[in-house]
């Protein structure tokens, strides 16, 4: 009977609440809330997808946040039965109060979803387009993140509005809803850390919510205001209702809710504390005990123990390290990173040390105004490079053999076992070498009988895509939607600026700076804490994880190529590309890197490289990716601003491209190449023209007959 009553009540109330909602002006206001930002930010359907998506997503998320205000708008609807006598008409024939409450809440959510449906569909399409079906999950998570508190609030407000109902169910659900809302609201950021999938979304560039973004601040301000407003509203409502007829039970409810209101006010203070906590977390003092990289890079033969074996466990949720090491030779002095502790114990000929702890990271906070100005990203950006060859944060881990996560960093390990507990994802682990792997329900275990002596050992991450390459292990790729200005800004500018700053401030010697490279693929550096990773560049490191460094190396080479004064750069570039194309990975001599680097710097100093020329680097970077048949190039052209690159149209069409053409021309006649290039820029600036137009222009204006593209196109 009760089930039948519930169904009947739910069906009737849902039907007519929805109908009345759709007819109310508030709903159309809501539609505008969702639709207008999208319309206003959609300047042109021909806009590149990614920037457009970003422009859509952010307003949508903002609008969704604004949605949380709409329950107040909808109070008018909730108070439909609150007019004198009207609630009597309604409730006197209500067979199931719980069903009515549920129906009102569900109808409210459905109305909101209907209002947002066009925008949601659009963002879903974009998410799937850029992230594949994985994007569906992320999209759902993002919406869930946004909608969950809205639903709670909504439900709570419905129940508060119907407080007079003579039914205890309402009060119970009300109390539960409010408590859950408060739990969720008290500090979303910290709560989200309890659930790593949401953390990824929260820190995703898609939503633009990140620890350093203003959106997060506003988000929290919004919650503060919402809680305070809701509290005042509840109290005001109760005050007003107290003048109306109340039964005995209702009086008791009113008292309960008044206490809840007081609790709300107190809890509302909690997010405010979150600001302080987050601010504190963003700045780390330089650890005076920081161990210079050179000290942990390579152990000397005398200081390294014999028969050194390590067995270590990383708990990626608790960020706890626990392990033990055994070795022979008591003279060696073990040294662990701050936060890890253990005491060696001698057992016969063998030394054994159990160690454990929560590592503390010595970080240097470096203010990078150049980045902000140049990149227009985050004006208050801090860079926190990790210098010790490993890091270990929520959802991300990166180990170099030389990291002090084991007692003798830099010393050869005979046998190494790494156990990973609470992996955030099972497909985001990259390892060097060929360890034996055992996977269980709770942990993955890697066993190296012959671990690499140095270089990257293991990486865990989540924001990038992982691609299996036959015979070459895994590759980590940047998210598809990352576009050139970001690539440049995230991967290049911080790197250079950081190094310069560190050198200037004496934190890093010149020698040290030259041994650092950017591990750009492992993390998504924009969002800071586990962002920029600097690790020593060594030949072995590259051999251990070649593709991780290819982009970096390619970038260096491309920079050299672009500078007109270094003919060797071009040849080097072409040779390297050829080698990469044939999958014969080889590393150019370090000296070439330095040459390229110096040449680029020299150009910049002599102001021979224009800003446009500098800006073309990402395009060249992409070109490299394209030549490497990196899947990133499949998506990037649509999203990139190629105004600095002549070859833009051809990149998309995948026809013989101007860059190839020019490169081939250069290899035939370098002087002519530069002459043509300079003249073209003088005439057209950064304008794109077709290859045919380019050839015609060269013939007419320069009286230069260009060779046929097919004749000069390099092997592809």
């Amino acid at each position: 009977m009760m089930d039948g009553d519930l169904r009947r009540t739910f069906a009737a109330v849902f039907r007519y609440e929805t109908r009345q909602g759709l007819r109310s002006p508030a709903w159309w206001v809501l539609v505008l809330n969702f639709g207008l930002p999208v319309l206003l930010t959609s300047a042109s359907p021909l806009d590149p997808w990614v920037p457009f998506t970003r422009r859509v997503f952010i307003p949508v998320i903002l609008a969704l946040a604004f949605l949380l205000v709409t329950p107040f708008v909808y109070l008018l609807a909730f108070e439909r039965e609150d007019a004198p006598g009207t609630h009597h008409i309604f409730w006197v024939r209500l067979p199931h109060i719980g069903g009515a409450l549920l129906a009102k809440a569900v109808a409210g959510v459905v109305l909101v979803l209907l209002a947002a449906a066009p925008v949601l569909a659009w963002t879903l399409a974009v998410a799937v387009f850029y992230h594949g079906w994985d994007g569906l999950r992320g999209w759902g998570q993002a919406l869930f993140l946004i909608f969950l508190p809205a639903v709670f609030i909504y439900l709570a407000l419905v129940l508060v509005a119907l407080l007079l109902l003579p039914h205890r169910f309402g009060v119970r659900v009300l109390s539960l809803s409010l408590m859950l809302s408060l739990l969720f609201l008290q500090d979303q950021a910290s709560l989200l850390h309890l659930w790593s999938p949401l953390t990824k979304i929260y820190f995703s560039p898609v939503t633009d919510l990140h620890p350093f973004g203003k959106l997060l601040v506003w988000h929290r301000v919004f919650w503060l205001l919402l809680i305070a407003g809701m509290t005042l509203w509840v109290l005001a409502r109760l005050g007003r209702r107290a003048r109306r007829p109340l039964g005995m039970h209702e009086q008791r409810w009113a008292q309960q809710v008044q206490w809840l209101g007081v609790g709300l006010m107190l809890v509302a203070l909690f997010p405010a504390w979150g600001f302080h906590r987050e601010k504190a977390a963003r700045f780390y003092e330089v650890d005076p005990n920081r161990t210079p990289i050179s000290h942990v890079e390579q152990g000397s033969e005398n200081s390294c123990p014999q028969a050194y074996q390590v067995d270590v466990t990383f708990d990626l949720r608790r960020l706890r390290v626990q392990g033990h090491a055994t070795w022979q030779g008591a003279s060696a002095t073990p040294r662990l990173q701050a936060g890890l502790a253990g005491t060696p114990v001698q057992a016969g000929q063998q030394m054994r040390m159990e160690y454990q702890g929560f590592p503390r990271w010595p970080r240097q906070v470096i203010w990078c105004p150049e980045c902000a100005r140049d990149l227009h990203l985050l004006p208050q950006r801090e860079l926190q490079p990790y210098l010790l060859g490993w890091y270990f944060v929520e959802g991300h881990m990166f180990l170099l053999m030389t990291g002090p996560w084991h007692p003798f960093p830099g010393c050869p390990v005979e046998r190494l076992q790494v156990r990973l507990e609470h992996l955030p994802c099972t497909s985001c682990v990259a390892v060097a070498g060929a360890p034996e792997r055992q996977s269980g329900e709770k942990a993955w275990v890697y066993l190296w009988e012959k671990p690499p002596a140095q270089g990257p050992l293991l990486a865990v991450g989540g924001t990038y895509r992982v691609i299996e390459q036959e015979g070459k292990g895994r590759r980590f790729l940047l998210p598809r939607h990352m576009f050139p200005s970001q690539v440049q800004g995230e991967l290049m500018a911080p790197y250079w600026t950081t190094l310069e700053r560190m050198e200037e401030s004496g934190l890093l010697s010149e020698e040290e700076a030259r041994t650092l490279a950017v591990v750009d693929h492992l993390t998504y550096p924009r969002w800071g804490q586990d962002g920029l990773v600097l690790v020593p560049v060594t030949r072995s490191a590259v051999e251990g994880d070649p593709l991780a460094y290819q982009r970096y190396i390619a970038l260096m080479l491309l920079m050299g190529w672009w500078c007109q004064g270094a003919e060797s750069c071009v040849a080097q570039f072409a040779d390297t590309l050829s080698e990469w194309e044939s999958q014969q990975i080889s590393l150019p001599p370090d000296i070439s890197l330095e040459d390229a680097d110096q040449l680029a710097q020299q150009l910049a100093l002599q102001e021979q490289a224009s800003p446009e020329e500098v800006s073309v680097l990402p395009s060249l970077f992409l070109y490299t990716a394209y030549r490497l048949q990196d899947p990133i190039s499949t998506y990037q052209p649509l999203a990139m601003d190629f105004s600095g690159l002549l070859a833009y149209p051809f990149l998309i069409k995948r026809e013989p491209i101007v860059l190839d053409f020019l490169n081939a021309l250069y290899r035939q006649e370098p002087a002519l190449f530069w002459h043509i290039l300079r003249a073209y820029r003088d005439t057209y600036g950064l304008e794109d023209i077709s290859l045919a137009a380019f050839a015609q222009w060269a013939e007419n204006d320069l009286e230069v007959m260009l060779p046929e593209p097919d004749l000069v196109s390099p092997s592809r």
Binding site: R8, T9, A11, A12, V13, R15, Y16, R19, Q20, R23, S24, R80, A83, P84, G85, T86, H88, I89, F90, W91, V92, R93, L94, P95, P166, A242, R243, P245, L246, G247, M248, H249, Q251
Partner: protein, 301 residues
């Protein structure tokens, strides 16, 4: 009347609204028989609406108990809601719904079988077929009242509570409504609250007269006049000296004589056993109105 046969039993009920001291109902005991129209008569604030809300299980008594159809309103509200129809004194209908939709909504909630026919029938009865598909925000006060009445009758409830139902109806509608109500009450119990004595006199078999939360009279309407028999007098006075001033006199009505506009007939209650000290006064046959005034002013239970 035994409690088993009474449709509604109200036992020593006290109800006090929050933040008030004076009870809205004070030690009220009533027995309302099944079938027929039971009137609740009293001025504003007498406790009529409070009683109906308690009987409709919308509120719980502070003390005492109310049984409707044998169910206790404090514990068995669900069962009671299935028995009753309720027309509140004041209400607002959903302005964005049409008349038809409103009735359909209420019918869905009440689980009315064959509801389209029932709605059509009720709309015809209240004369709103032509406005069935207009939004309620466009309805006049009388139309809303008729529609609200229709919703109260959707389930053809055995017990019908009507709180000042004739308010807003024009004279013709009132007549039609009263006529219908008399028919309906032949097989159903109707509790009808009003402050108009003539409505009660026309419709009700039994009546309870309330004053400031207390029952001043309950019983057959026909017996109500007995409480003032021998206490109602009238006298012809000049207009200048029309006030009857003496201890024990309660003025009821003053009427200008049609054939002599300079003089008036004054009707008054005389609460003392001796003849009134007014020259020319004569006793007259009391009416319900006299009894009502008596009960409101000085009457005893």
């Amino acid at each position: 009347m035994s409690k088993q046969t009474a449709a509604i039993v109200c036992e020593s009920v006290i109800y006090t609204y929050p933040k008030t001291i004076q009870p809205a109902l004070n030690d009220v005991s009533l027995e309302i028989p099944p079938r027929g129209i039971y009137g609740l008569l009293g001025p504003n604030g007498a406790g009529k609406t409070t009683f109906l809300r308690l009987a409709a299980a919308l509120m719980e008594p502070t003390q005492g108990r109310v049984l409707v159809g044998g169910y206790n309103t404090a514990q068995e509200g669900d069962q009671i809601r299935r028995l009753i129809g309720y027309l509140p004194q004041e209400y607002e209908l959903y302005p964005t719904l049409t008349g038809w939709e409103f009735l359909d909504y209420m019918a869905l909630l009440s689980g009315v079988a064959n509801r389209k026919n029932r709605i059509r029938e009720l709309l015809a009865w209240v004369g709103l077929e032509h406005a069935a598909h207009k939004r309620l925000r466009t309805y006049s006060g009388g139309m809303k009242q008729r529609l609200a009445l229709a919703q109260a009758l959707l389930t053809e409830p055995p017990i019908l509570f009507l709180d000042e139902p004739t308010t807003g109806l024009d004279p013709e509608e009132r007549l039609r409504f009263k006529d219908w109500l008399l028919d309906y009450a032949q097989a159903h119990t109707v509790v009808f609250s009003s402050h108009l004595v003539e409505d009660i006199a026309l419709l009700c078999d039994h009546v309870a007269v309330l004053r400031r939360g207390r029952v001043r009279y309950q019983g057959p309407v026909a017996d109500l006049v007995k409480v003032v028999e021998g206490k109602v007098w009238d006298v012809i006075l000049t207009r200048e000296h029309r006030r009857v001033q003496a201890d024990g006199v309660v003025s009821i009505a003053t009427r200008v004589l049609e054939d002599d506009p300079g003089r008036v007939e004054v009707r008054f209650l005389w609460l003392v056993d001796d003849p009134p000290p007014v020259e020319g006064a004569r006793p007259v046959r009391p009416t319900l109105q006299d009894a009502y005034v008596y009960l409101q002013q000085v009457g005893t239970k």
